[in-house]
Each structure stands twice: as structure tokens, then as C-alpha cells.
């Protein structure tokens, strides 16, 4: 027989590390967002002033909304690129399919910093993209339009987070029973009808989840905007990062991070909901 006390003690023993290393830190920065800073000193009075300041200042609120828009664009672009690729991999068979899948997944583990720098050098004035566009005559002279703007941030993020999108879409496609496809063909549907009425609806939950992964990852990224966005690439992640560095207003940074946390959680919950809607 287990007493209630023993069960609680066992819970605390098992959960001690996650509680101390995950829940307490998140709690402590949520708490910090309710304090305020004055001349680099943290005043421990409860106040909502940080949130009021955030909502009342277009500089911050605008940056936040701009970041949301950017992340939605990243989501859309990575889905537009990711879905056809996942579909192509799904259509292959056996070891060829496995190899392609492996090729799609390995970039997830390649150094993030290295990917950023090579993409940056590719987009740069003497970069590969410029050379190609010069070669085929689209550009008359090397152009700077590819780097240090919001478009560059968008493209770089889409490339970096693409593997996170391809994988869930592929897994969703893989779960569709072949018998459904055969049934659709037997009932006289063409390839396009089968895709539109069977494959696409059944893979939609995984696709939405994949897109939301890209959204959440892009949301908190503060290095990509800095590297390829230059001075125009101001996202909420960068603003938060600067509050803990140069600006040194930790409570205000914590408040913005709390808003980021809430947005990310909403995205994660939506992705979880999308996955449970997967009917096959």
C-alpha cells in the first residue's frame, strides 16, 4: 500500500531536476517581468508597467507585429518549398526514399552559425547568387539588394527551418494507407483529383504542424536577423537580447520574452491540436 506521502516524495524525487532546471527558471523570469528597473537596479515591487510600456510604444509593439508577420511569411515560404519536396520523397521507394529523407534531415544538425555564414556569403555582393544572376543576365552589375534587408532574413530563415517542415509533412503523407489511393483511382478519380481530395486533406494536419514548427523557431531567432538583416532586421528576439546586454533593462526584456513565450505556446498548442486532428 502506498501512502499519499510516499507518492508525493517519489514525485519530487523523480521530478526534482526538471522542476529546478526548467520550471523554476521560467517562473523566475515571468516574475522578473512584473518588477521594474531603475538606473540598472531592479526594484522588487509588483507592477505591470513593463507590459504597459510595451503595448504603449509603437517601436516595440510594431517590431513585435512585424516579427509575427515575418514568421508567418517564413511559415508560408517553407511550406511552399517543403510540401512539394516531402511529396517527392514520399513518391520514391525503398532505399532511395530513405537516402532522400536522410539528406533532408541531416541539415538539421549542421551547425546553425555555419549555415548562417555560408548563406550570408552566398547572398553577398560577390556571392554565388549574384554571380548566377549576373551570368544569366538578370543583373547588369553585382547588387546589394540580396543582403541586409527583410527579404534576406525571410529567405535565410526559410532555408534554415525547411527540414523542420519537410519531416512532419513526410510523416503525415506516409501515414496515408495505400488502399485509400487505390480506392480513389478505382472509383475513377484522376491523379489530380486523388491528390486534391484524398492526399492533401489527409496530410493537412501534419502540414499545418510543420508550418507552425517553422513559425515558432523563427519567432525566437535573434542571430539570423542580425547576421543577414543588418540594421533593418530588427525582430523582437533581437530587441529582447539587447535588453539583457546593452540596454540592461532585464524586467522589460523579461516582459517581452513572456509575450514571446505566450505566442510560442499558442503556436505549439495549435500544432498539437492539428496533429490530433490527423484522421489516419
Amino acid at each position: 500500500m502506498q501512502t499519499r506521502f510516499l507518492r508525493i516524495a517519489l514525485f519530487l524525487a523523480a521530478a526534482a531536476v526538471p522542476l529546478v532546471l526548467i520550471l523554476v527558471p521560467i517562473g523566475s523570469f515571468l516574475l522578473l517581468s512584473l518588477f521594474r528597473a531603475e538606473k540598472h537596479q531592479i526594484i522588487h515591487d509588483f507592477t505591470l508597467i513593463n507590459y504597459v510600456n510595451f503595448l504603449g510604444s509603437w517601436t516595440y509593439l510594431g517590431t513585435f507585429l512585424g516579427t509575427l508577420l515575418l514568421c508567418l511569411e517564413v511559415m508560408a515560404l517553407s511550406l511552399i518549398l517543403g510540401y512539394p519536396i516531402a511529396w517527392f520523397i514520399w513518391r520514391q521507394r525503398g532505399s532511395r526514399q530513405y537516402l532522400l529523407l536522410l539528406l533532408a534531415v541531416v541539415p538539421l544538425f549542421m551547425s546553425y552559425i555555419v549555415k548562417l555564414y555560408t548563406l550570408r556569403s552566398m547572398l553577398g555582393l560577390n556571392g554565388l547568387i549574384n554571380q548566377i544572376l549576373l551570368g544569366i543576365g538578370i543583373f547588369q552589375s553585382p547588387s546589394r539588394v540580396l543582403l541586409f534587408n527583410q527579404r534576406a532574413v525571410l529567405m535565410t530563415m526559410a532555408v534554415i527551418y525547411l527540414p523542420f517542415v519537410i519531416l512532419p509533412i513526410f510523416l503525415a503523407l506516409e501515414r496515408i494507407p495505400r488502399s485509400l489511393l487505390h480506392a480513389s483511382t478505382d472509383l475513377g478519380a484522376g491523379a489530380w483529383d486523388t491528390f486534391r481530395r484524398v492526399v492533401l486533406p489527409l496530410s493537412l494536419p501534419g502540414t499545418i504542424a510543420g508550418g507552425l514548427f517553422a513559425f515558432v523557431l523563427a519567432l525566437g531567432d535573434f542571430i539570423t536577423p542580425q547576421m543577414v538583416g543588418g540594421t533593418t532586421g530588427f525582430t523582437i528576439g533581437r530587441v529582447i537580447f539587447s535588453q539583457f546586454g546593452l540596454a540592461y533593462d532585464w524586467p522589460f526584456g523579461a516582459a517581452m520574452a513572456s509575450i514571446l513565450l505566450a505566442t510560442a505556446l499558442a503556436g505549439i498548442v495549435a500544432a498539437g491540436y492539428a496533429i490530433t486532428r490527423q484522421r489516419v
Binding site: Q2, I8, L10, F11, A14, A15, V17, P18, L19, L21, I22, L23, P25, I26, S28, F29, L32, L81, P84, I85, W87, F88, Y98, L103, V106, P107, F109, M110, S111, Y112, I113, V114, Y117, T118, M122, L128, V159, L162, F164, L167, P168, G190, A191, W192, F213, V216, G220, D221, F222, I223, G237, I240, F244, W250, A254, A257, L260, L261, A264, I268
Partner: protein, 267 residues
């Protein structure tokens, strides 16, 4: 049987896949090339071909310090996370577990949330507790980050084990400890190893959380970041090539281990 339309769709998506994959793998090709030869005015100067940068790398103290930090952080955090993953999986699968969903949510949070949130949370907590940032806080950051992956893999394996296995062990007179030691752990071993491999790969490249908790210490990705801000040298490209090589080898081994079930870290 394929219709003409399907054939065309496959060719079109195949071309797109090839294009996108070449962009995804460009970092590898570019760094290998630049580490070996000089490129000027769009021409590759083959006469400058040299492996020298790979050798000078080993006499750079800041690179070696970052390398040793990365190795210490990876090994320690992976060991802690693996042990925790087994304990937590056994606990959440136990019928008397309290707050199972709550505990799982906490475990998954650092993996699901943007790394900036996890990094900041640890930064704020260590500052308020007066803990100096350094290797220990990086280890804490990496442990919570990879725990989700290790836990998920162990849990999936544990759930796949037939309950009769444990029942049989008890029927044959084994104690709880003996059942754990001789029945459960051997069955979990390969899942733990796969989780550890995956965790090692993730820890090796982790950048965003480390930025917040590193203090004045450097891990390899942070060192690289600092070096690249100054400008590119063949030495940096050599280091990048080695880093990419290690990541690719680790991830291919992990993927190969995961092959039978086709399962990946994105659960």
C-alpha cells in the same frame, strides 16, 4: 501505374528538391573548398591547395579551449540527461505516478519553446541565485534541451515493451531492483544509446541557449561565431569543415540507428 500528370509533377518536384538540397548542402561544399584553396576574382587558385589550415588549428589555444568546453559540456549533459530520461520514463509509466501530463509538459518545454526563452530563463534564475555563469550553466542549459529527446526515445521503447515481461519477472520471484536491472534496463539500452547519440549531436551545435548562459566561457559554435565576425580565414573554414564533418557523421549514425522504426526526433 503513373499517368502523364503524375510523371510531370514528379519531375517538377524532383528538380525543386535537387535545387533546395544543393542550397542546404552548400555550406559543406563552400567550407571544404575555401579551407583548401584560395579563391580570387571568381577563380579557384589550385596552386594554393594546402592542408596547412588544418594543422595550424591545433596550435590555436582559444580553439582548443572551446573544443574542450564543448566536449565536457556534451558528455556531461548527455550523461545526466540519459540517466534522467530513464528515471523519468520509468516514473511516468508507473501506474502510481502523480501529475504525469504536467511533468511531460515541463520536460518537453525547453525543446518546444524558442531557445531564447530557455536561455533567458536560465540566465535570470542563475543571476537571482547568484550563480556565476560558466561551464556549469552551459551544462544545465544543454541538459534540459536534450532531455526531451532522450526522454521521448526511452518512453517510446518502454511503452512498446509487453507488460507481461515485467509480470513474468515478478512471477519468477525477482525483486523490483532485479527486474529493473536484468529485464527493463537491457531492453532500454539501445533506446538510451540512440537518445545519447542524438543528444550529443544537438549539444555539439547548440548556439542560442549557450549565448545566454556561457558567461565568459566559449563553446565551439560561440568561438566560431566570434571568429567569423572578424573575417574569414582558411583556418576558420578548416574549423567549420571539421565541425560540419562531426555533425554529419553523428547525425548519419543516429539516423541509421533510428531506421527500423523510421522514427525521428520530431515527435
Amino acid at each position: 501505374m503513373q499517368t502523364l500528370g503524375e510523371r510531370r509533377a514528379e519531375i517538377a518536384t524532383g528538380i525543386l528538391t535537387a535545387l533546395v538540397f544543393s542550397v542546404l548542402y552548400a555550406p559543406v561544399l563552400i567550407s571544404v573548398l575555401f579551407s583548401l584553396v584560395e579563391i580570387r576574382g571568381g577563380k579557384i587558385l589550385w596552386e594554393t591547395l594546402s592542408f596547412e589550415p588544418y594543422l595550424t588549428l591545433w596550435s590555436n589555444p582559444s580553439v582548443l579551449a572551446a573544443l574542450s568546453n564543448t566536449a565536457i559540456v556534451a558528455v556531461v549533459s548527455v550523461v545526466i540527461a540519459s540517466v534522467l530520461a530513464v528515471i523519468l520514463a520509468l516514473y511516468t509509466e508507473w501506474s502510481g505516478a502523480l501529475g504525469r501530463r504536467f511533468l511531460e509538459l515541463i520536460i518537453y518545454l525547453p525543446f518546444l519553446l524558442p531557445p531564447i526563452v530557455t536561455g533567458l530563463a536560465l540566465l535570470v534564475a542563475s543571476a537571482q541565485l547568484g550563480i556565476n555563469r560558466g561551464v556549469a550553466t552551459i551544462i544545465a542549459g544543454h541538459t534540459v534541451f536534450v532531455l526531451a529527446v532522450a526522454y521521448r526515445l526511452v518512453l517510446t521503447r518502454l511503452q512498446a515493451l509487453p507488460p507481461s515481461l515485467v509480470e513474468a519477472s515478478f512471477d519468477l520471484g525477482a525483486t523490483g531492483w532485479q527486474t529493473l536491472r536484468y529485464v527493463l534496463l537491457p531492453h532500454l539500452a539501445s533506446a538510451v544509446t540512440t537518445g545519447a547519440m542524438l543528444s550529443l549531436t544537438l549539444s555539439f551545435d547548440e548556439t542560442l541557449i549557450s549565448t545566454f548562459v556561457a558567461g565568459d566561457q566559449m563553446t565551439l559554435p560561440l568561438r566560431l561565431w566570434a571568429m567569423m565576425r572578424v573575417g574569414f580565414t582558411p583556418e576558420i573554414n578548416a574549423l567549420v569543415t571539421l565541425v560540419l564533418l562531426v555533425s554529419i557523421v553523428l547525425s548519419v549514425i543516429t539516423a541509421w540507428r533510428l531506421k527500423p522504426t523510421g522514427e525521428t526526433e520530431e515527435d
